[in-house]
C-alpha cells in the first residue's frame, strides 16, 4: 500500500495537466468537478497511507520512485518518506484542500462573475491542483531537494493565485505587485534554504533525511562542526521565516490577501504557510544539535506572534485581520518548535488549519453576501455612491447576525476556537504551546500570553463589527446567505474546529494506557515528544484572559457605531499608537526605504552609470581611440592616386639610396 504514495501527488498533477491543457474545452462545471475529484483522490490516498502505516506499526518507510540526480558522489532520488509526520501533513493538506476545492466550486463561480471574466474559472482549479501537488511533494519528500521542489512549487502557486486577478488591485497593478512581492520575499527565504542544503551536503555528505539523521546520531561535533550546524539551522530558519511569514519576512502575507478567498484559506492560512513549521519539525534532529538556534527560533516565533497581534487589532479589512492573525498563530507554532515542543506545534498547526480555513472561508462567504447585498441594495435604492465601498471593509458591515444563518454560526465557532475558549480546538493546542513555554522559558511564555490576549481581543472586535450592531451600509443591510456548496464545507470545518481538540485528547482507557495523548503518540514515531502534565494555572490563565479580551472587545465595540465613518473606539483608547498599529508599524515603508529603493537605485546606477557609462564607454572609447588615430593618419590620405604614387616613388628612391649607401 505504501507504493501508492506517489499517487498522492500524481492525482492532483493529473488534474492540473488535464485542466491546464483542456480546461476550456471541458467547460467550467466539468473542470471544477475534475479538480475536486483529483483533490479527493489525493485525500483518499493519504488515508490509505495512514492505514498502511498503522499496519506497519507506524514505522517510517521510504518509497523510491525514480532516479533524479546522480552526479559524481552526489545523489538524490525522487522518493517519498512515509511516516506519521508526513502522513499527518498529507491528511491535513489533502483533507482541508478537498474541502476548499468544494467551497471554491461555488465561491469562484460568483467571484468570476463579479470580476467580469467567467472564462477564468477553470484556471483557478489548474492552479489549485498544482498547489496541492506541490504541497504534497513538499510534505512527502524524503530529501531536501525534493522538499525544495515542493517549497518553490507552492511559492509559484501562491504567486499565481495572489495574482489570479492580475488586472485588479490598486491602479490595476496592486494584485500583481502583491504576487511579485510574495514570490521575491519567499525567494529570500529560499536562498537560506539553498545555502543550508549546500552546507548539509558538504558537511554530512547527503541530502536524504533518513541518511542525514542516521549520520547525525553518531556524529561528534567539534567547535567548527557546532558552528556549521548552527549556521545550517539558522539558514533553515531563514527559509522558514520566508514561507511561514515570520519576522522579518512576514510582509508578503498581508498583501497576499489579494488572492481569492479560497486561496487565502488554503494557501495563506491552512497549508503552505505551515511548511516552515513542518520543515523545522522534520529537521528536529538537526535543531536538537544547535541549542542557540532553537533559542532564536523560539524568540522569532514569539516576537512575531505578539507583533502581528498588535497590528491585527487595528485593521479594518476583514481578511487582513485574519492574515495578521495567521502570522501571529504561525508565530505560536514557530515558538513551539523552537522550544522543542514539536508535537504542540504540529497540533496547533492542525487545529489552526481547521479553524483558520473556516474563518477565511466564512469571511469569504460574508464578503460575497455583502457583494450580493450591494448589488441588490443598489438596485433597490438606486443609490450608487455608497455601493462603491470595499466589500471587505468591516466598517461597512455590521448587523449581519440573522441574515446569514449558517455563516454566522460557523464564523462564531471559528472565532472562539481561535480565541482559545474551551472546549474548542484552539484552546487545546494553544494551551499545549503555552504550557511548554511555561515549563521551558517563562519570558517567552509571557510574550505568548500577551499575544493570546490580543488574539481573543481582535477576534471579538471582528465578530462585533461584522455581525452585531446596525448595518452600516445598504449592502450589509441586504446581505443574503451563500449557497449550499459554499456552506457545506463550512459546516464540516466548523465541526473539525469544534472537536479538533479531541485529536490530542488524553486517552482515557480507550486504548488501554492512560496519560498518553493521541496525536503525541502518533507523532512520537517521527519526532521526540515529551508529555507534560496538565497545568491548571496555564489553562486557567489562558481561558480567563481570552474571556477578558472578549469582554474588553464587547465594552469597546458592543455599542456598535452607527456609521462607517465613526472613529474606531480603540483609537480613542490608544491615541496616536493606534495610527502606528493601523499603519502596520510602517514596516513596509521601512523595507521600501532600506531595501527596495536602494535596490532600484543601485540597479539603475549599474545599468546607466556603470554599464553604459563605465564598461561600455571604456571599450567604446578604446574603439574611438583607434578611430581617432586612423582619422589623424587619414589626413595624409588625400584620395589622389598621384600623391600615393609619389610617396611610393619616394619609397623606391629611398630604398635605392639605402642600397647605395649601405654598399
Amino acid at each position: 500500500m505504501f507504493s501508492l504514495v506517489p499517487l498522492v501527488v500524481l492525482f492532483p498533477l493529473a488534474g492540473f495537466a488535464a485542466n491546464a491543457f483542456f480546461g476550456r474545452q471541458l467547460g467550467a462545471a466539468r473542470a471544477g468537478l475534475l479538480a475536486v475529484l483529483a483533490a479527493g483522490a489525493a485525500f483518499l490516498v493519504a488515508v490509505v497511507q495512514l492505514a498502511a502505516l498503522a499496519g506497519n506499526g507506524f514505522a517510517p518507510v521510504t518509497v523510491p520512485v525514480a532516479e533524479w540526480l546522480r552526479v559524481g558522489d552526489f545523489h538524490v532520488a525522487w522518493a517519498f518518506q512515509v511516516d506519521t509526520l508526513s502522513v499527518t501533513m498529507m491528511l491535513v493538506v489533502a483533507g482541508v484542500g478537498t474541502l476548499i476545492h468544494i467551497y471554491a466550486l461555488g465561491y469562484m463561480r460568483e467571484d468570476v462573475q463579479h470580476n467580469g471574466d467567467p472564462g477564468r474559472y477553470p484556471r483557478f482549479f489548474v492552479y489549485l491542483n498544482l498547489f496541492l501537488a506541490s504541497m504534497l511533494v513538499l510534505v512527502g519528500a524524503d530529501n531536501f531537494l525534493m522538499l525544495f521542489v515542493g517549497w518553490e512549487g507552492v511559492g509559484l502557486c501562491s504567486y499565481l493565485l495572489i495574482g489570479f486577478w492580475f488586472e485588479k488591485g490598486a491602479a490595476g497593478l496592486g494584485n500583481a505587485r502583491a504576487a511579485m512581492k510574495a514570490f521575491v520575499v519567499n525567494r529570500i527565504g529560499d536562498f537560506g534554504l539553498l545555502l543550508a542544503m549546500f552546507l548539509i551536503y558538504w558537511t554530512f555528505g547527503t541530502l536524504t533525511f533518513s541518511e542525514l539523521f542516521e549520520r547525525l546520531k553518531t556524529v561528534r561535533l567539534d567547535a567548527t562542526g557546532q558552528l556549521i550546524v548552527t549556521a545550517i539551522t539558522l539558514l533553515l530558519l531563514l527559509g522558514a521565516t520566508g514561507k511561514s511569514a515570520q519576522l522579518p519576512l512576514y510582509v508578503w502575507l498581508p498583501d497576499a490577501m489579494a488572492g481569492p478567498t479560497p486561496v487565502s484559506a488554503l494557501i495563506h492560512a491552512a497549508t503552505m504557510v505551515t511548511a516552515g513549521i513542518y520543515m523545522i519539525t522534520r529537521n528536529h534532529v538537526l535543531f536538537a544539535l544547535a541549542p542557540q538556534s532553537m533559542e532564536v527560533v523560539a524568540w522569532i516565533g514569539a516576537a512575531t506572534a505578539l507583533f502581528a497581534g498588535t497590528i491585527a487589532v487595528a485593521q479594518t479589512d476583514i481578511k487582513r485581520v485574519l492574515a495578521y492573525s495567521t502570522i501571529s498563530q504561525l508565530g505560536f507554532m514557530i515558538a513551539a518548535v523552537g522550544l522543542g515542543a514539536y508535537v504542540a506545534g504540529m497540533f496547533h498547526l492542525v487545529t489552526h488549519a481547521f479553524f483558520k480555513a473556516l474563518l477565511f472561508l466564512s469571511a469569504g462567504s460574508v464578503i460575497q453576501a455583502v457583494e450580493r447585498g450591494g448589488a441588490q441594495g443598489g438596485a433597490h435604492a438606486g443609490q450608487s455612491a455608497e455601493a462603491h465601498h470595499d466589500p471587505q471593509d468591516m466598517r461597512f458591515m455590521g448587523g449581519l447576525w440573522g441574515k446569514l444563518p449558517i455563516t454566522q454560526w460557523v464564523f462564531l465557532i471559528g472565532a472562539l476556537a481561535l480565541a482559545g475558549l474551551p472546549p474548542l480546538a484552539g484552546f487545546f493546542s494553544k494551551d499545549e504551546i503555552l504550557l511548554d513555554a511555561f515549563e521551558h522559558n517563562p519570558a517567552i511564555f509571557w510574550v505568548l500570553v500577551a499575544a493570546a490576549f490580543l488574539t481573543a481581543f481582535y477576534m471579538g472586535r471582528q465578530l462585533l463589527l461584522v455581525f452585531f450592531g446596525q448595518p452600516r451600509s445598504t449592502a450589509a443591510a441586504h446581505a443574503t446567505e451563500s449557497p449550499a456548496v459554499v456552506t457545506t464545507p463550512l459546516i464540516i470545518l466548523a465541526l473539525l474546529s469544534f472537536f479538533g481538540g479531541l485529536l490530542n485528547l488524553p486517552k482515557f482507557g480507550l486504548y488501554g494506557y492512560a496519560g498518553s495523548l493521541l496525536l503525541k503518540e502518533f507523532l512520537s514515531f517521527s519526532v521526540e515528544a515529551e508529555a507534560l502534565p496538565f497545568n491548571a494555572f496555564v489553562a486557567g490563565l489562558s481561558t480567563v484572559l481570552a474571556l477578558a479580551a472578549l469582554g474588553l472587545a464587547y465594552v469597546l465595540y458592543g455599542r456598535a457605531q452607527a456609521t462607517a465613518q465613526d472613529r474606531d473606539p480603540l483609537a480613542a483608547l490608544l491615541g496616536p499608537v493606534f495610527g502606528w498599529l493601523r499603519d502596520k508599524w510602517y514596516v513596509d515603508e521601512l523595507y521600501g526605504f532600506l531595501v527596495v529603493t536602494p535596490f532600484n537605485t543601485l540597479s539603475q546606477l549599474a545599468a546607466r552609470a556603470l554599464d553604459l557609462g563605465g564598461v561600455d564607454m571604456t571599450f567604446n572609447n578604446l574603439g574611438e581611440l583607434a578611430r581617432a588615430v586612423g582619422a589623424g593618419l587619414a589626413r595624409f590620405q588625400l584620395g589622389y592616386a598621384r600623391r600615393y604614387a609619389l610617396v611610393m616613388f619616394l619609397g623606391a628612391v629611398a630604398v635605392l639610396a639605402y642600397f647605395l649607401i649601405a654598399r
Partner: protein, 498 residues
C-alpha cells in the same frame, strides 16, 4: 571517402548541401527556399541523432576521423574531428536550435531570404565544426568561420543600429581571437602538432601554461561573455533578428564556455587551478551585475540579453569549481541556457512581430489578450529563473553545490546564490510589465494570440525544459565519463600546483 561520409563529417557539412541547393534557386521563391533550408537543418538534426546513437558512454574522443589537411614545413594541420561527452550535447543543441530558428523566420524575414538562409546554414557548419574539431588550426578556422555569417545576420537583417552592433560584435570577438591564434601557432610550432589529444597527452610545463591560458581565456571570455567584456552582447542582441538572437544566445555564447572546458581546463589544468579564484570572482560579479542591470532595462530584449550575462556567470562559476559537480552542472546549464534563453528570444520576437516595439512601457495586461502566449512565457520565464522542477534549477543547483566545495571560496557560491533571488526579481518584473495589470495601451487590445506555427516552435523547447527539470539523469550520464576524466586531470594538476 571514409572521411567524407563519416558521421561527424556529414553532421558538420550537411548544411552545405542545403547551401548549394539554395544557390541554384531563385530568390523570389521564398517559401520554397525556407522549406529547403528547414529540411536541410532537420536532416542535420537527424544526422546528429545518428551520431548520438553511435556514441557510447565512455571517456575519450569517439567517432574520430583524421586526415592530413595541409602541411607547410613544420606546420602540419589535420582535418581531425571527434566527439566526446563534453561536446556531444552541444552539437545536439546546435542542430536542435537551428531548425527552430529557421522556422521562426518564416514570416519575420522577407528581405533577401535566400542570402539569409545561406548565412544561417553556414553558421551551423561553423558552430558544429567548433564543437567537433580536434585540431587547433581547424578549430580556429571554424571559430572564425562562425563570425562572418553572424556579422551579416546582424549587419544586414538587424535593427536600426545594426551597423554599429555588427561592427562591435565583430571587433570584440575578433580582437580576442587574435591572441588565441598566436597561442595556437606557438603551440603547434613548439610541439610539432596541432592535435588536441596529443597535446593533452603530452602535458605542458606550468610556466608556459600561464600565458597560453590567458591568451585562450581572453578569446573565450569575450565570447561567453565574462564581465567586464560583455558590452557587445546587449547591442548585438538588440539589433540582431530574432533567429539570430536565438542562435547567438543559444549556441554562439556556448562556443566560449566550451572553449574554456576544452582548452583552458583540458589543456592547461595547472594554470586553470591557479586562475580558478580569479575567474570565479569574475563569474560571481557577472551573475550579480547581469541581474542588477537586467532589472533596470526598459527594452525586453535587452533585459533578456543582460540575463544571459548573469546565467553564463553561473556556467563559468561551475566550470571553475573544477570538480565533477560543478563541471557537469555547467555543461548542463549551457544546454539549459540555450533552451530557455532561446525560447525567451523567440517570445520577445513574437511580440515584436506584432507590435514592432519591445519597450516594456508599451505593454501590460497581455495575459488577458494573449493567454496562450502568457502561459508559455510564464513557463519559460520560470525556467530561466531557476524554478525547481524545470531545467534551470537542476543546472544552477548542481553548479552551486559544486562551487561550494570548488577551488574558489564557498563564499562565491553563497554570493552567486543571491543571483537566484535577483533572477526571480527581474524575470517576474518582466512578466509583470508585459502580462499583468489592465490592458492600458489600446494598441495591445486586439493582438492575436500565438499561431499554431509559433506554438509549435516553442513546444519542443518546453518539452526539453520540463524533461531536464524532472529527469536530467540521461544528460548527466552522457557527459559523466568525460567530465570525470577531466576532473581527475584537474585534481592531479592541483596537487602539482600546491
Amino acid at each position: 571517402m571514409d572521411v567524407l561520409f563519416s558521421t561527424l563529417t556529414t553532421v558538420t557539412a550537411f548544411p552545405l548541401v542545403g547551401v548549394v541547393i539554395l544557390l541554384f534557386m531563385r530568390g523570389e521563391q521564398k517559401t520554397a527556399l525556407r522549406w529547403v533550408a528547414l529540411t536541410t537543418a532537420l536532416i542535420t538534426f537527424g544526422l546528429s541523432l545518428l551520431m548520438l546513437a553511435q556514441f557510447s558512454i565512455a571517456p575519450g574522443f569517439q567517432l574520430v576521423i583524421r586526415t592530413p589537411w595541409f602541411r607547410v614545413g613544420d606546420f602540419a594541420a589535420d582535418f581531425y574531428l571527434g566527439v566526446d561527452g563534453i561536446s556531444v550535447l552541444l552539437v545536439l543543441l546546435t542542430t536542435f536550435l537551428v531548425p527552430i530558428a529557421i522556422a521562426s523566420t518564416w514570416e519575420a524575414v522577407q528581405d533577401r531570404v535566400r542570402e539569409f538562409l545561406i548565412a544561417f546554414l553556414l553558421l551551423e557548419v561553423g558552430m558544429v565544426g567548433v564543437f567537433l574539431a580536434l585540431d587547433l588550426v581547424l578549430f580556429y578556422v571554424f571559430w572564425e568561420f562562425t563570425l562572418l555569417p553572424m556579422l551579416f545576420l546582424i549587419g544586414i537583417w538587424g535593427g536600426e543600429r545594426r551597423t554599429y552592433a555588427a561592427l562591435k560584435f565583430f571587433l570584440y570577438t575578433f580582437a580576442g581571437s587574435i591572441f588565441m591564434l598566436v597561442a595556437i601557432v606557438w603551440l603547434g610550432l613548439s610541439y610539432g602538432t596541432f592535435a588536441l589529444p596529443e597535446l593533452m597527452a603530452r602535458g605542458l610545463p606550468a610556466g608556459t601554461q600561464t600565458w597560453l591560458f590567458l591568451a585562450f581565456a581572453l578569446a573565450f571570455a569575450i565570447k561567453v561573455p565574462v564581465w567586464p567584456l560583455h558590452s557587445w552582447l546587449p547591442d548585438a542582441h538588440v539589433e540582431a533578428p530574432t533567429a539570430g538572437s536565438v542562435i547567438l544566445a543559444g549556441v554562439l555564447l556556448k562556443l566560449g564556455t566550451y572553449g574554456f572546458v576544452r582548452f583552458n581546463l583540458g589543456l592547461f589544468p595547472q594554470a586553470a587551478v591557479q586562475f580558478a579564484p580569479f575567474l570565479g570572482v569574475l563569474a560571481v560579479i557577472g551573475i550579480l551585475y547581469g541581474a542588477l542591470v537586467s532589472y533596470a532595462q526598459a527594452d525586453a530584449k535587452k533585459l533578456v540579453a543582460y540575463s544571459s550575462v548573469s546565467h553564463l556567470g553561473f556556467v563559468m562559476l561551475g566550470l571553475f569549481a573544477l570538480n565533477p559537480l560543478g563541471l557537469q552542472g555547467a555543461l548542463l546549464q549551457m544546454i539549459n541556457h540555450g533552451l530557455s534563453t532561446g525560447a525567451l528570444f523567440l517570445l520577445v520576437g513574437f511580440i515584436y512581430e506584432r507590435r514592432h516595439t519591445r519597450l516594456l512601457s508599451e505593454f501590460g495586461g497581455l495575459w488577458k489578450v494573449m493567454p496562450i502566449y502568457a502561459a508559455l512565457a510564464l513557463v519559460v520565464f520560470l525556467s530561466s529563473a531557476g524554478l525547481p522542477g524545470l531545467n534551470g534549477f537542476v543546472g544552477e543547483f548542481t553548479i552551486l553545490l559544486g562551487a561550494w566545495d570548488g577551488y574558489a571560496h564557498w563564499g562565491f557560491a553563497a554570493a552567486a546564490a543571491l543571483g537566484v533571488i535577483l533572477a526571480a526579481v527581474y524575470l517576474l518584473w518582466l512578466f509583470f510589465k508585459m502580462f499583468q495589470g489592465e490592458v492600458t495601451n489600446p494598441k495591445n487590445a486586439g493582438l492575436p494570440d500565438l499561431t499554431r506555427r509559433e506554438v509549435a516552435l516553442l513546444v519542443p523547447l518546453l518539452i526539453l525544459i520540463v524533461w531536464i527539470g524532472v529527469y536530467p539523469q540521461p544528460f548527466f550520464d552522457l557527459m559523466a565519463p568525460a567530465v570525470d576524466a577531466l576532473a581527475a586531470n584537474l585534481s592531479a594538476a592541483a596537487l602539482a600546483v600546491r
